[in-house]
Amino acid sequence: MKALAFALLGLRRFFRERTNLFFVVLMPFLMIFMMGLMFGGTSQVRLGVSGATGEPLAARLVASLGADDDVEVVRVGSRDDLVSRVERGELHAGLAIPAGYDTTLRAGGRVTLQQITRPGDIAGLTAGALIASVVPKEAAPIKAAGFAAAQGAGTFDETYRAALGSAVPGLDVKVTTTGEAVMPHGAAGFGIWAPPLLLLYTFMTALIAGVGTVENRRLGVTRRAYSTPTSAGSIVLGETLGKLVITLAQGLTVMLGSALLFGVDWGSPPGAAALVVAFILVGAGAATLLGSLMRTEAQAVSVAVILGLGLGGLGGTAVPLESFSDTMRTVAHVTPHAWAYDAFTRLVRHGAGLADILPTVALLTAAAIALFTLGAWHMHRALTR
């Protein structure tokens, strides 16, 4: 296949340029780390605890805190360590259990727990709310046991066991949410930010590929290739194919890397992969058209950047689609970004699978084919006029 000859040559020329190699390899890793820093582990609140966690009552408290699937409890050596790790953002919140926690409580004394959070950290607030709900529950049987023991009903251990076993009536709040939350996922609600960033990045990268096509036209190589028994379709397909492979590899690397290293949530892997591939195909189709329309590389670069940022912004990758008015949201769906964004929302927030987002994948693929065909047609025109 002749398109392959173009693609292979394109790749060879691309990788011969050291700076390209640097960017191609570096960019995905930068993206992965960025995502790791921003969104890593956001499905779980990391709560640090320090102090006498080995004593039975303290151990129970810690276990209760960790009972929630959305909370990961991390044991930390000292209170100072806890503070510094919260400050660094490694932990969303900390709970310092003072020395002699068990002894003081058993003796009927009063213990003060210390909660450490950073200001403005949503995950920290969530952790605070958790602490505020767990601690009273733990305190109730301790208070009951202490009271009973003081009344001479037995030792603290006996009355505590009895208090735990008895169904003491009390107040519980069961929380249910209705309606669609703006950003409900996980305790932190950041999870949905990784896909838009990836969409913005991959579409831009794919579009930039169109610049190479303009260069080859300027060099006269494209026209010469058209003097050989090679169709305009093969030429434009070949021109884009090489860069498409690179963009795909980058996009999938970012997804896989951020998921494995930092636990960034992309939803169902086959669904997310199919979606990203279809989306990048649209970018490549647009690049084909761009490459056949522009006359100079400088022109192509500016249009690629303007289109990449413009479509990205309109498509909800800068400001979330959910905050758009209904009209704007409808308008936003002229961009592939908005369609992909919606599909990612379903994958990430609602646990949808590949089958559920197949219509979007099909739509994006169809758009890619349409753009490519238009590009090939226009390339033929551009070459023979």
Partner: protein, 314 residues
């Protein structure tokens, strides 16, 4: 049967006609030259013939079959060497060549063989693995030609292949074109160098303003001028003054001012040597200050001047 038949092809760019009802044919083993100054329409004509430019009217037949830009079968018969270098500069000659063998659908074995052959033919074998960007202008031109030879075309089309080339490369290029013609390849060669057309081409078409002004062998074309030598006078001041003086001189058939050449006037005479003494006397008597005199025997330059009233050189 001609390998190439060009029938009334025409190209318009807006209001202006770049190529105007151009027709000619080329037989197997024949070298046809399109001779014309810059802007004559050579590249436009060639692009239509190769099939990288749509034509507004006319027909092109290659190997007896109608040819158009979408026609891949007849493109396989054509080797095209564009006027501007159409190469990747950041890879080697060999890699450029390998890429084009793929576009011509050549097998691996054939590609390897033909790449060595054309590298040898254009004298680039020893530099084949260096990046093209390190080549001299002449070397890059030779590679540009080599690409057109890869698939052993029946029809080789070269668009001013020697522009900006050192004399050594130029001779090598002309030699290999002649060799190919000897092997039976039909060649279409454009140039604005008269000597190249004279040295290389079996037949020559003179193109100016998009139109074919005359066509034939060198001898036939020179015949158009008549049996005339030219005596070219460079004069001081207004050459208009010299025209009537020369016209009145004995033995002078016709006098022409050369457009674009400062102060040049040409007197057409049957025999320049015989007429010279009397001509000089007439000029002196007429008060024309002569800076130099040059005798030209009829050549394509003279033919072009005769046909268009302008010098071929630009």
């Amino acid at each position: 049967m001609p390998v190439l038949e060009v029938d009334n092809i025409t190209k318009l760019y807006g209001e202006s006609v770049a190529v105007d009802t151009l027709s000619f044919t080329i037989d197997q083993g024949e070298t046809y030259g399109l001779l014309g100054p810059n802007g004559a329409g050579k590249t436009t004509a060639i692009s239509m013939i190769v099939g990288v430019l749509d034509r507004d009217a006319g027909q092109v037949r290659v190997g007896g079959r109608p040819h158009s830009p979408a026609d891949r079968r007849s493109k396989a018969l054509i080797g095209y060497v564009p006027q501007d270098l159409a190469l990747y500069h950041d890879i080697s000659a060999r890699e450029n060549l390998r890429f084009f063998t793929k576009l011509y659908g050549m097998s691996r074995a054939a590609a390897a063989r033909e790449i060595e052959r054309v590298l040898e033919a254009v004298g680039l074998a020893d530099r084949a693995d260096d990046a093209v960007r390190t080549y001299s202008g002449g070397m890059a031109r030779r590679l540009n030609i080599a690409i057109g030879l890869l698939h052993r075309p029946k029809l080789l089309i070269l668009d001013e292949p020697t522009v900006g080339v050192d004399p050594q490369s130029r001779n090598a290029i002309l030699a290999s074109v002649r060799e190919l013609a000897g092997e039976g390849v039909a060649i279409l060669y454009t140039t604005h160098y008269m000597e190249e057309a004279e040295r290389l081409c079996d037949r020559i078409g003179i193109l100016d303003g998009g139109r074919l002004r005359a066509e034939g062998t060198r001898r036939e074309l020179v015949g158009l001028v008549g049996e005339h030598d030219q005596v070219v006078f460079k004069v001081e001041g207004d050459p208009a003054h010299a025209v009537p003086v020369l016209e009145a001189a004995p033995g002078v058939g016709r006098v022409q001012r050369v457009e674009g050449e400062d102060g040049e006037v040409v007197a057409f005479v049957a025999d320049a040597r015989a007429a010279m003494t009397e001509l000089m006397a007439a000029v002196a008597a007429g008060g024309v200050a002569v800076r130099s005199v040059e005798v030209r025997e009829p050549d394509l330059e003279a033919v072009f001047l005769h046909l268009t009233g302008r010098a071929l050189r630009d």
